[in-house]
């Protein structure tokens, strides 16, 4: 066992993928000489050279569009979009090109590209540098979306994303970059679409992904002190998401709370709740409660941001509501 940070796990995954497969190339703004604006690709240029990892101009639309062409022509690009807020500029390449190419060309090939991007608030970065927009991508047939919650899953999912033959978006909560955790010496590649049960519990299932997983764990600990036993599921992947695991858990707890940092309305949790209100309806003994961001842009002020973000108290309140 060794202790590593989330950001370091991403760095290792990139390095290991590049070492394993020399068709893997990395590009984006400031990823090469500077090693990434958050430092995810530090050292890779020295090790793999500027042909394998290179800096681009500030041209997000063309970066993503180029990744599609690169992937169609024999390389496996990993691109970085500096803040998830900027995927607004890449939507055409992702949605109309990458996501549809395999299907609309009759299965002639695929687009093995990865787009990494950080989401999430908490740093006072304001309305255009904090958004969680993964619901958009999960709604698009042809894309896969993963969102790791800790160093081991960051490593394992990024490796899987790079090996995957289809376009994968990996969303990283920037508040997690500094998170440290003990990990195995040999980190496994993790399957896309498989959730992890972080904590067993009997009375309520807490489903979340990314940074919100830790909020759920904290809430579960608080609830335990009050004699309420909560199961915590880390989805890890949003598209596809692990419906079977959630349903199985619901079948034993009969209560469901879905938690994420994205805006609640029309957010990713709506799908999970809606699915369980259908296929899991007979198991439900209480309302499905969602905890997500309120319907407002991410505010700059810490005082507002603190109220804006989901936290353990909100999750506890949601649990109490569904148990009431």
């Amino acid at each position: 066992m060794t202790e590593i940070r989330y950001l370091r796990a991403i760095n290792m995954a990139l390095a290991d993928a590049m070492a394993e497969d020399d068709t893997v190339v990395v590009f984006g703004e400031d990823v090469s000489e500077a090693g990434g604006s958050f430092g995810a690709s530090r050292g890779l240029r020295d090790r793999f050279g500027p042909d394998r990892i290179f800096d681009t101009p500030i041209s997000e639309a063309a970066i993503a569009g180029a990744a599609v062409g690169v992937a169609m022509s024999g390389l496996r690009p990993v691109i970085e979009i500096m803040f998830m807020d900027f995927i607004t500029l890449t939507m055409d390449a992702l949605v109309n090109q990458a996501a549809k190419a395999r299907f609309m060309f009759g299965g002639q090939g695929s687009v093995p590209m990865v787009l990494r991007t950080p989401h999430g608030a908490g740093l006072g970065a304001g309305p255009q540098h904090s958004q969680c927009l993964e619901a958009w991508l999960a709604h698009v047939p042809g894309l896969k979306v993963v969102c790791p919650s800790d160093p081991a899953s960051a490593y394992g999912l990024l490796r899987a994303a790079i090996r995957d033959p289809d376009p994968v978006i990996m969303v990283e909560n920037k508040a997690l970059y500094g998170m440290k955790a003990e990990v195995a010496d040999e980190l496994p590649v993790l399957p896309i679409g498989k959730a992890a049960i972080l904590r067993r519990g009997k009375e309520v299932t807490l489903v979340s992904y990314g940074a919100s997983v830790h909020i759920c764990s904290a809430a579960a600990a608080q609830l335990e002190a009050d004699g309420i036993s909560a199961e915590v599921i880390d989805l890890r992947s949003l598209q596809p998401w692990d419906e079977a695991t959630v349903l199985e858990s619901l079948s034993s707890t009969h209560r469901l709370v879905v938690v994420h940092e994205a805006v609640e309305a029309f957010g990713p949790g709506a799908e999970i709740a809606a699915r369980m209100a259908d296929v899991g309806f007979d198991e439900l003994d209480g309302p499905i409660v969602r905890v997500g961001a309120p319907f407002m842009p991410v505010p700059f002020s810490k005082a507002l941001e603190g109220r804006y973000l989901p936290d353990a108290a909100k999750v506890v309140a949601a649990v109490r509501r569904t148990l009431a």
Binding site: G65, S73, Q97, A160, D166, I192
Partner: protein, 335 residues
Amino acid sequence: MSAKPMNTSRRAQAGKAVDLPALYKSMLLIRRTEERLATLFADGEVPGFIHLSIGQEAVSAGVMSNLTKADTIASTHRGHGHALAKGLSLEGFFSELLARREGLCQGRGGSMHVADMSVGMLGANGIVGAGLSIALGSALAHKRLRPGTIAVAFFGDGALAEGLLHETLNMAALWKLPLLFVCENNGWSEFLPSEKQIAFTLERLSAAYAIPYERVDGNDAEAVALRSREIIEAVRRSGPAVLECATVRVRGHFEGDAQKYRDRADLEDVAKVDPIMRCEAVLKKTRMSDEALQALDADVRSAIENAISVARAGQDPDFERAREDVYTPQGFASP
């Protein structure tokens, strides 16, 4: 071949003569295919909407005469000519446009999405300008994996207004990518002359990035073939270039467009610059007999009719198969 002395000298420069009969045949295939598509569309056999490139065949034939299978192209909504000249199977093509399971895209894409990765045709595209960055990426991969191979981005004069053009020109120049930008300037962007939309010239725009630029009569197949040959050789060696082909859109923006917005005179003039008639005149003067030309036409027509028969005999695509094929079957790479 051509009566124009300029072309003769250019041909001399380029070293090798242009295979004019081959160009002619390539153009004829596109023309006859699209003429048939027009009737099939009118008869309701082709669903969706289609954009014909009648009048613009010289660009496809000329440019593609200098590409190999390894070279890639990214095309547009008006992509039949690009597709056929790049070597797509005619049966696969018609089967696709008739929405058959046997189509190149298994009936899922249609006219605006015909593609054949095996011949380097990375797809027609329903999004104006989108092919530019796909070609950019393809050129990037070529540079790393297959030096000497190039990518070609086709785009219309309307697409000149998209920001992606600027981004890709810049990146292509910055990284000296083997990327040829081919603008098919037919003067129209849907129902509006593009001069009402474009305040710049592509020549001056290319100059900004110091990307070599050439303009060619896009209705002169030989000229397109010759000029693009030189340019493509340079692109293979040293980086991007822009080729602007002045051409004419004969039919409406899409089939069914009555072109009421267009001067009758403009439309009548069109016949005069027809690339196929021009080429035929040269061929007649120099080497091909009327019989040979008729035989060629007959060949082309029968290949097309054959492809149409095959397409008509095809089946509807299978829904479950389509639904499963959104992702690569093997799925994720599990550990």
